[in-house]
Amino acid sequence: MTPVLSVRDLSVRFRMRGGRHVAAVGGVDFDLAAGECLALVGESGCGKSVLASALLGLLPGNAQTAGTAVLTGPGDGPGAGVDLLAADERTLARTVRGRRVGLVPQSPAAHLTPVRTVRAQLEEALRELTGTPRAELRAAAVAAAGRASFPAGLLDHHPHELSGGQAQRAATALALVGNAPLLLADEPTTGLDRDLVERTVDELRRHADEGRALLLITHDLAAAERIADRVAVMYAGRIVETAAADRFFGAAGPRHPYARGLLAALPERDFTPVPGMPPELGALPEGCAFAARCDRRTDACRVLPRLTDGVACHHAAPDGAAPAGVGSAGVGPAGVGSAGVGPSGTAPEDAAPADAVPDDIAAEETTRA
């Protein structure tokens, strides 16, 4: 089975004044199968949102992209997918956005049109994406709002009259309308209380379970643990580790020192930040970008580590080692069982064309579905 989305060597950089560049995303590879939920975590500013924007062709005019991101539909044969990075605006607007790739934007309040009510925007999206007849729009809008726990009574509010969490739910409701086979959810749980977080992520999980792929960009590790099948950790524009969620959150813990630091920073654990500051993306160091903050740094770190076996580190903790300082398994509420999902990162050197997906992943996806 071909993955819904297959990203190879995706890079994004911003051209800045004076000929400088900000390398927001560098050489990202991953596959995302139908029914799978990949949680993308990482420190703020590491390029998660830019990655999502790139997949929708919504980058600003001074951005440049490289690599491929092939979106394959259920009916498409191998090699027939759309390369999201190369597709023209027309294709993206007419067939991809909303219909095949949905987005829950970060800062939802800023992404809602301020002069129109939530209902107007919801009904409009329903009409355009699902062709709901006019007479049924009202009911459909209430139902769509309900999916994201958006209170029906607030449908007639304008975005600026919503609380942060309500705006978030409105945005989620809008993103779910199209029932797109691939959903990019960029921090879909900010501003929500624990109940709502769970309800929202469960809805997302249900969405994925119906055979769609979900890329969950989040800082909320508890939420990620609850629904993710796999976790990808991003640092300074690169994916530094991918792991099955149960292993990542389980006793073994992540292998990359940065990922371990990230987990350790949780309030329920050490509550201490990873020391130091992330590097400036405008002037990335030659070798491992994390080296400057890493307590295992050696000379080997002057060379950029490749993502091998799901981790890009010269000193990765051995598979199965318990994360430092954490005894308990899982964060927050008990994780959702996600048996049968293994590591599925692809090393760049065998950056295969989109259709050539390693067999083991395909097999696993089948089990999951």
Binding site: S49, T190, D193, R194, R199
Partner: protein, 236 residues
């Protein structure tokens, strides 16, 4: 003492968001406020920062009862309270570079000279590099913008801090770093803190005491969460 006494506030006089809410924060105290989404926490924060006139009730800052709101509040009172809003994208002037964004309160209060030094110091504290400081809000990530907003809140050395879901969009490490920055500031200046959030664990760890919204109000207002429940049930 930051006293919010039997406040009623909202956006429609006939139907306020909350009624009769009281909360007192002692100098140097850190209070966490938990509550369901949409219950009025941000509204309360806006009242506490003198940006929203309550329909009824009293706000007292360090013994001064507040009579005017927004521009009509005395500048000393306004600047005594630093605020970080829930939505950094909306609360940053899109035309200002982060550097100016942070320095703006200093300039507005006529303390231009201090700006350069203070910005550099705070930027370091909240983890903003020089490169980021020279960008405008749309050129940075939401988390980076939130850091700038925190720096802006601290720049006038307020005696009170109101952080409305400051860390909602931050990863664990950055959260920890910013909380540490706030705590360091509070240690130095003895400032009181009202931290609004959803994450009980975080607030418990961060604050001296955590109060739940329901305990603030005498008669519990119809909780939007309940209504959300109803629709959620109906919708799915």
């Amino acid at each position: 003492m930051l006293e919010l006494a039997s406040l009623t506030a909202g956006y429609d006089r006939r139907d306020p968001v909350f009624r009769d809410v009281s909360l007192t924060i002692a100098p140097g105290e850190a209070v966490g406020l938990l509550g369901p989404s949409g219950c009025g926490k941000s509204t309360l924060a806006r009242v506490a920062t003198l940006l929203h006139r309550p329909d009824a009730g009293r706000v007292t800052v360090d013994g001064h009862p507040v009579r005017g709101w927004r521009h009509r509040a005395p500048r000393e009172l306004r600047t005594a309270i630093g605020v970080v809003f829930q939505q950094p994208r909306l609360s940053a002037d899109p035309r200002l570079r982060l550097r100016d964004l942070i320095a703006e309160p200093l300039r507005a209060t006529g303390r231009r000279a201090e700006a350069a030094g203070r910005v550099a110091e705070l930027a370091h504290r909240v983890g903003l590099t020089d490169d980021l400081l020279s960008r405008r809000p749309h050129e940075v990530s939401d988390g980076q913008l939130q850091r700038a907003c925190l720096a802006r809140a601290l720049v006038l050395r307020p005696r009170w801090l109101v952080c409305d879901e400051m860390t909602a969009m931050l990863d664990a490490s950055t959260t920890a770093a910013l909380v540490a920055a706030v705590e360091e500031y509070r240690r130095e200046h003895g400032a009181g803190l009202l931290a609004v959030g959803h994450d009980r664990v975080l607030l418990d760890r961060w604050c001296d005491r955590t109060v739940h919204w329901a305990s603030l109000t005498g008669a519990p207002a119809p909780a939007p969460a309940a209504e959300a429940d109803a629709t959620a049930g109906a919708g799915v």
